[in-house]
Amino acid sequence: MNNIFLITKREFLTQVKKKSFIILTLLAPILIIAFGAVIGLMFKANESHSVIEVVDKSGLFRDQFKSNDKLDYQFISAADEKAKVNNLKDNESLDGILILPELKNQNYDELESGSRLIVNSKIGLDTKQKIVSDISNVIKKEKIKQLGIQEVQLDDLDKSFTLKTINVSNDNKEDSDLAFGVKTGLSMILMYVTFMFIIIYGVRVMRSVLEEKNNRVVEIIISSVKPFELMMGKILGVTLVALTQFIIWITMSVIGALVLNTGFSSLQKNMPGGNEQVMNKLDIAQLATQISHSLLEMNFPLIIFVFIVFFLLGYIFYSSIYAAIGSAVDNETETQQFTLFAVLPLMLGMYGSFSLMNNPDGPLGFWLSIIPFTSPVAMIARIPFGVPAWQIALSIALLLGTTIFMIFLAGKIYRVGILMYGNKATLKELWKWIRG
């Protein structure tokens, strides 16, 4: 035990002291934020503000058209039409003129064929669609009015049907759509974190094994400790490195969020708040309470417990595979053919889990979260939706069993592999090592 501790300590300290670790840990969140900002900016940069002047000869549209921050309607009189159209070419502050003819005898087809949008440059698809839908809405309302239907009646017709879902296994609580969305989000985040963690740090274990093999230091170590202790110490050391990185990142994002949050609210206070903005703010606040409410409603102790158990077991399961791979080859380029075995089942679990969002309790979800190769990601993806206790217990038992078995197998390969040099191991040979 003491040896495992010493190895863990060394592994942890050397990795954490590396310059690349420090730089990556500090820079990664900044890079991610910068990346997000760049993407946001790119979208923003492509947004345009269009000014459209409207000649409304029918008089139907004047009160119905609403400008927004992307499209500005300005109504002009029919008398100005000719001059405006002639000058449009040279007018840089104007993007187009919409001409809507008079409506005669309720002939809307004629209205349609008589309508024109004259533009002086290319107009965005978004803008055009907005104009079209605005016109259609007005016409629809007019047509409905002719049919003699009240707007209240119409609203009633459009009212969507809300189906209350009662989950008998889950304390009779219903899932609102929002709650379902929150759960999906949480489930995706947890699953993705697990997936990335296993891949990134599993490869780190593999590299560390390879490094010792290439340095030829490994035989000296295993003359003092058992190969199994060395392998376990390594896996645990890398786990601690990962946790350290996590804690630093979480702390950084919490601090960042706090700073941004105060900045955001002071910004809002200083702004001359229009009616709309207050509305938005209310909405956001309401949404936030709803989200936090649905978050709080979940069985967090269970989710955290399941997350930690599957996360750790899954990580140990896969990193023992990675350790075995690292021991069986001589350099990193040779690892590729084997890492496929470690990555493929995880990918299967993850992509399977995407479809699992539609039906968390379906057979796919069930099997993915029971079979040990995929269960570390799939069970974590399922858990926010609630999983029967017996399935969790079965899955943990299976995963624990296979993890121990995998450590045992990896230990066998590792023991032989680390002392083999200049020998490209084949699957057949690996099998021999396991038996031997």
């Binding site: 050397t14 590396k18 340095n215 030829r216 035989e219 000296i220 295993i222 003359s223 003092s224 031997g436």
Partner: protein
């Protein structure tokens, strides 16, 4: 000190035999040479002592006690494939390896200080290994091996990769350790180091021990009663007469000095009595085979 009895070790489910009925006895405080061509089974045996692998059958005893994990702390091992961590400071590595051998940090620090002074390398403590030259790294490697004061030191090809200066320095340290009571097993295929350093030797070929014993005895065993003679003022008649009675080869005649080898089993005094009549005896010695000759002889006889 160490006794190995009927060790058998196979790989690939018995298809490849590494050691077959291998027994040796290493006396306390001696330097014991394991000699053999590459692939003879030396490293397999050493790995069994270090408990890196296990023998299929047979027993090893250290001071009468069957080999067990407690012995690991008492053994210092320098494998043939050796190296250190490149990105770790010299001091950190030395402490790490010492702690893995069960030493306390303070104890390791004190012992390390002694060695660093002895080898005159105390200014390297904080350097990273990647900043040191290969020769420097070799010294560190040796310190790592002996720091925990092992009673049994196992060195696999200890001089391979060492430059002559460092090799000599390490050789002196090894002899020093032996004089202080450390038992040393030295595996090599370099015969000259065996002749210089070893008290005992075992020859291994094709997984079997061919011969073992004191280096002196082994060489004696392989001597073929060949004597080298140099004469001056040779009387030709007498020499012709002498040649008829003895088997003579490698004859040369330079500056009136006649040299030749002869093979005879009658004993050196009888030969000398005859030689006195042929001319003035400048030199006369028995050709004792070098370890190299013993080795080649033994291996070719064996196979």
């Amino acid at each position: 000190m160490l006794k190995a009895e009927h060790i058998k070790k196979t790989y690939n489910a018995g298809k490849k035999v590494a050691l077959d009925d291998f027994s040796i006895h290493v006396p306390q405080g001696s330097i014991y040479g394991l000699l053999g061509p590459n692939g003879a089974g030396k490293t397999s045996f050493i790995r069994i002592i270090n408990q890196i692998t296990q023998a299929d059958s047979g027993d090893i005893f250290i001071n009468g006690e069957k080999l067990n994990p407690n012995h690991i702390r008492d053994i210092g091992y320098m494998p043939e494939e050796r190296g250190l961590y490149k990105n770790m400071s010299v001091g950190d590595q030395i402490l790490y390896f010492a702690e893995l051998k069960g030493m306390s940090k303070n104890d390791a620090l004190q012992e390390a200080k002694k060695w660093f002074e002895k080898l005159n390398i105390d200014q390297w403590w904080k350097k990273k290994l990647s900043e040191l030259s290969k020769g420097m790294a070799q010294k560190i490697q040796f310190v790592v091996t002996v720091l925990h004061r092992p009673h049994l030191l196992i060195l696999d090809e200890p001089f391979s990769g060492f430059d002559p200066v460092n090799a000599n320095l390490i050789k002196d340290q090894i002899i020093d350790l032996k004089n202080n009571g450390t038992t040393i097993i030295l595996s090599t295929h370099r015969m000259e180091s065996v002749e210089e350093m070893c008290d005992y030797v075992a020859l291994i070929n094709n997984s079997k021990k061919i011969i073992d014993g004191k280096v002196f005895d082994v060489r004696e065993k392989f001597k073929k009663n060949i004597f080298g003679v140099t004469l001056s003022e040779v009387s030709n008649d007498q020499f012709e007469n002498f040649k008829n009675r003895y088997e003579i080869f490698n004859l040369s005649n330079e500056n009136n000095l006649v040299s030749f080898d002869l093979k005879n089993e009658t004993g050196q005094n009888n030969i000398l009595l005859d030689l006195v009549n042929v001319g003035q005896v400048r030199s006369f010695d028995e050709r004792i085979p070098s370890m190299n000759e013993v080795f080649i002889n033994a291996v070719s006889n064996h196979s």
